[in-house]
Amino acid sequence: MSKEKAVKKKKLRAVSDNIDVKNQFKGWLYLSPALILLIIFSFYPLLNTFRMAFLNGYNGLAIVGGEKFTIGIENFKTVINYVDFKLCLKNTLLLCVITVPISTTLALLIAVALNSIKPLQKFLQTVFFLPYVTNSIAIGMVFNAMFTRVGLGDLIQTQGIINNIIGIFGIEPINFVNVGSSWGANMFVVCTYIIWNAIPFKILVLLGGLQNVNKQYYEAAKIDGTSKIRTFFRITIPLVSPMLAYVIITSFIGGFKEYSSIVGIFGDGMGPGGNGQMNTLVGYVYNMLPKSNSGNASAASLILFGIILIVTAINGYVSKKKVHY
């Protein structure tokens, strides 16, 4: 019996040794379809972006006659001094600073509320997850329709449903998205849409965290007569802080890459009447591309990458100090 086992073991080892040698080749063979595509469409572009960014005035092609582009930081200078770029940077930063705290707070409150109820919990959870599975361009168009007034000047027929609703509270109709609307009004619409769109994912993650919190902590707090608000700040928040940190980092990164929700609302003119006043960093990069400004586009995308890296690093640093694992 034991002899048989030993033989079997030996056989197994022989097989697995044999596999090891064979697998050297096989491993790369199985990996090759993915690798070939990744080399062409990911690794090479990554290196090429750096190359293009540091070739002054590069347009994606070599110069006729074999001359070479000079190496330098001209592209970065051009991009930074460009008026449009400053507007894009300002819009993107503001979008992040406004939407991330509001959507995170709202999502946390909703998650805590959902966690504290029993009847209707599953139903409400489904409702709050709905905006996640949507087409951001399509629903952006719905937001546009809700904020748009129909008609012009004295011939305005309807102010749009949102103006009708705020009219109930005695607020004068605002030109939110039509031609001639202000930057602030546009910003309000875009932020509303982004917050609406961002909440489901956050609720999903935070509720998952809350449901894993050990109930004993809450019972102990109850016995000590700790107030609900104190319990929230001293127990709930520290215990879901890893999820909070995760949600904040991902939504900052998402915020810096904001583009399609604004296209949904305003079209690719990125502003009322296509005036571009809501353009973002990513929008700036994409506007550069068809104009053969590869050098500038690369520089702008590297700046975006740099900002994302810095924000991630800051978040990581703060998390290390504040997050309670």
Binding site: I19, L130, Y259, V263, D268, V285, Y286
Partner: protein, 308 residues
């Protein structure tokens, strides 16, 4: 004296209990009220989209908005189909979605198998390299990829016609085929299948490919479904890349067609009900996926935070 104390205690206990009950009721009322209001805000855009798609233009323009269509008109959907060319867009999107999902699954399964089961030098290094690319924003790739597919190669002074594959279906499928996230997801699933099973199959002389096909794939069906849904949704929602490289009528995908479609009539007025009908049509498949396959989507998104 003792009796009196007891009585006081009882009164206290009673009143404390009563006040606890009232505060509990108040708390629940506030909680449900808050959740109810938030739920209405979340639902409202969908509601407005759907009811607007059934209104006549006159009713939509009414000074006092109606929260329910006075009479339902289905004409808007007909207009939407013709104005936005929805049938063609559907066909293009389904073709690109199905082909890229199938190819992507093949590539993903092979790589995940290599990373999860095969032993070879440089495996961990490669895996680390792939994971690192997840950090890089896609915009960095897009710039060069745009040049590559339009035939503008480095060290060449003229665009190369032969390499220009813009306005083809291939350009919508291949650059986005490999997703490192899907490889990671499937590798994690494969890793949970015990290694003994693999060695046993080897002893029996089963080939790697047969083992992958007969044992590993059937055990990983749920992850395969998750990847399929995410990839299909990706094609459905793709906007930026298709707009750059294949925005002609013969290859346009649904999201681009929807955003680019003109719902303006001869008087320069936007036909909002028809536009909302088109948006509703585009949203319905997503709703259906959501209703029937929610658990697979949630499994994917809670690990990634990416959309599509």
């Amino acid at each position: 004296m003792a009796e009196f104390n007891n009585a006081v205690k009882e009164v206290n206990v009673e009143s404390v209990k009563a006040s606890q009950r009232t505060s509990k009721i108040i708390r629940y009322t506030i909680t449900y009220l808050f959740l109810g209001i938030m739920a209405i805000i979340v639902i409202f855009p969908f509601y407005w989209m759907i009811i607007s798609s059934f209104k006549t233009m006159d009713e939509y323009r009414a000074n006092v908005p109606t929260l329910w269509p006075q009479n339902f008109v289905f004409e808007n959907f007909v207009t939407a189909f013709s104005k936005a060319n929805l049938m063609d867009l559907f066909a293009h999107t389904m073709f690109v979605g199905v082909v890229s999902t199938v190819l992507s699954l093949i590539v993903t399964v092979f790589s995940a198998f290599a990373f999860a089961r095969l032993q070879f030098k440089g495996r961990n290094l490669m895996f680390g390299l792939l994971m690192a690319t997840m950090m890089v924003p896609g915009e960095l790739y897009t710039i060069t990829n745009y040049l590559t597919v339009s035939g503008r190669l480095p060290f060449v002074s003229e665009p190369v016609e032969a390499f220009d594959i813009t306005n083809t279906f291939a350009v919508l499928i291949f650059p986005m085929l490999v997703s490192v996230f899907y490889i990671y997801l499937l590798r994690q699933t494969f890793m949970q299948i015990p290694n003994e099973l693999y060695l046993a199959a080897k002893v029996d002389g089963t080939s790697d490919f047969k083992y992958l096909w007969k044992v590993m794939l059937p055990l990983s069906v749920s992850t395969i479904i998750t990847i399929t849904i995410l990839k299909m949704m990706g094609a459905w929602n793709a906007y930026i890349w298709p707009r750059l490289v294949a925005n002609d009528a013969a290859h346009q995908l649904i999201t681009n067609g929807l955003r680019g479609a003109s719902f303006t009539d001869e008087f320069g007025e936007t036909n909002y009900p028809a536009q909302m009908a088109a948006v509703t049509i585009v949203s319905i498949p997503l709703f259906l996926v959501f209703v029937f396959l929610r658990k697979y989507i949630m499994r994917g998104v809670s690990r990634s935070g990416i959309k599509g």
